[in-house]
């Protein structure tokens, strides 16, 4: 079933595009060009943060932290190895990507830990960045309950990431 999602989606998008008289090829090319900018755009910050995460792993701090807080996370079913990712994600998207890449490289992208980390990355946002940008734009300084509600959503995402891998594989 999930093998078919992607090919069907791709075919569906371009077929609908063609039927609606969209110049699908040139539009695709324009979008892909933007992707190049995105990739180039994330490189510097990813480089800075992956350097830091790589040093953190080499220092043994990640393992130690996972060892210390592991039992707490294990109680709710989250693998301790994803701790750094969980801690960084609300603050920095490229930091979380760096931590996630580190986890996937260390444990393999198809391992349980790797899958949980990937789902965490794919189903959460950079909470504090979003809060800062939107409230900043509106000139709001008293955010009332927005931060706890947003963090509740993050916590749910992290819990569900581990739970769904256990249930759905």
């Amino acid at each position: 079933m999930s093998d078919l999602i992607l090919p069907l989606l791709i075919c569906g998008i371009v077929t609908v595009g063609l039927f609606r008289k969209t110049p699908v090829f040139s539009v695709f090319i324009r979008g892909a060009r933007e992707g190049l900018d995105t990739a180039l755009g994330i490189l510097p910050s990813l480089l800075a943060l992956l350097t830091a995460v790589s040093m953190l792993r080499a220092s043994g701090a990640i393992e130690c932290l996972a060892h210390l807080l592991g039992p707490v996370l294990a109680k709710v079913g989250i693998p301790a190895e994803t701790l750094l990712l969980i801690l960084i994600k609300p603050f920095s998207g490229s930091g979380a990507l760096a931590a996630g890449a580190d986890i996937l490289r260390e444990f393999g992208p198809d391992s349980f830990i790797g899958r949980v980390a990937a789902i965490m990355l794919g189903s959460s946002e950079t909470t504090f960045y979003t809060i800062a940008v939107y409230f900043g734009a509106a000139g709001v300084t008293k955010t009332r309950y927005a931060v706890p509600a947003a963090l509740a959503a993050d916590a749910a995402a992290f819990l569900m990431a581990a739970l769904t891998v256990r249930l759905l594989g």
């Binding site: 989606l9 701090a61 749910a156």
Partner: protein
């Protein structure tokens, strides 16, 4: 924010490295990390470009507009102001549909416009603005293209097989955020109603007492 996080991680690494006696490995780890970042981005670029291209086609053929139309009703339910303010409705729907399609670059300007339209102009956030921020601070993305590309570049057998898990997780996360926002809004209103002194000027107090006595 990133300044502090970055320096903090680097400092911890060095301090911890000395404690654990692994300080000698830090230098090569730093250079390796930088190298890995480049390899990583090269590995991600193909899929990233592909999905941006696909999503551009979707936007161009009206999928984003169609999504925005579908969103009008739920958005109206969640944010009162969008029911009477057409500009706010338009911006919120455009923001959410761009997010769903993974067009982060397009979503943020719409979101900023929506935040301005929803705001009352004061320095305290109203319920609508809080709801917008909570929805945006949880994920909305349908295709987690970067993560899938990351898995693919590291040799995953089926990088997109996490899709069902991601969708379910995203759904539960959004539902939790929205439920928490509604619940906390209600709690705050109730505690305010329970303490008539909350945020009220002294000159208005007698009037308020009369009201609460009724």
């Amino acid at each position: 924010m990133l300044d502090k996080i970055w320096v903090f991680i680097l400092l911890i690494s060095v301090i911890f490295g000395f404690i654990s006696g692994k300080a000698g490995e830090l230098g090569s780890a730093a250079i390796n990390g930088a190298g890995q970042a480049v390899t990583l981005v090269i590995g991600l670029t193909g899929a990233l470009c592909f999905w941006q291209g696909m999503m551009a086609v979707m936007r161009e053929c009206g999928a984003a507009a169609a999504l925005a139309r579908v969103l009008r009703r739920p958005v109206g339910l969640l944010m009162k102001k969008t029911r009477e303010n057409a500009r706010a409705m338009e911006a919120v729907c455009a923001n959410i549909s761009a997010n769903l399609l993974g067009l982060a670059n397009a979503a943020t300007p719409f979101g900023i416009e929506a935040a301005k339209a929803l705001s009352d102009g004061g320095e305290t956030a109203n319920d609508d603005l809080c709801m917008l921020v909570v929805i945006n601070s949880a994920s909305l993305q349908l295709i987690p293209s970067t993560v899938a590309a990351l898995r693919a570049s590291l040799g995953s057998a089926a990088p997109y097989d996490i899709l069902p898990c991601v969708w379910l997780t995203t759904l539960v996360s959004q539902a939790t955020g929205i439920a928490a926002a509604l619940l906390l809004a209600k709690i705050q209103r109730n505690t305010r109603a329970a303490s008539p002194l909350y945020g009220v000027k002294r000159s208005r107090l007698p009037l308020l007492r009369k009201k609460s006595a009724r």
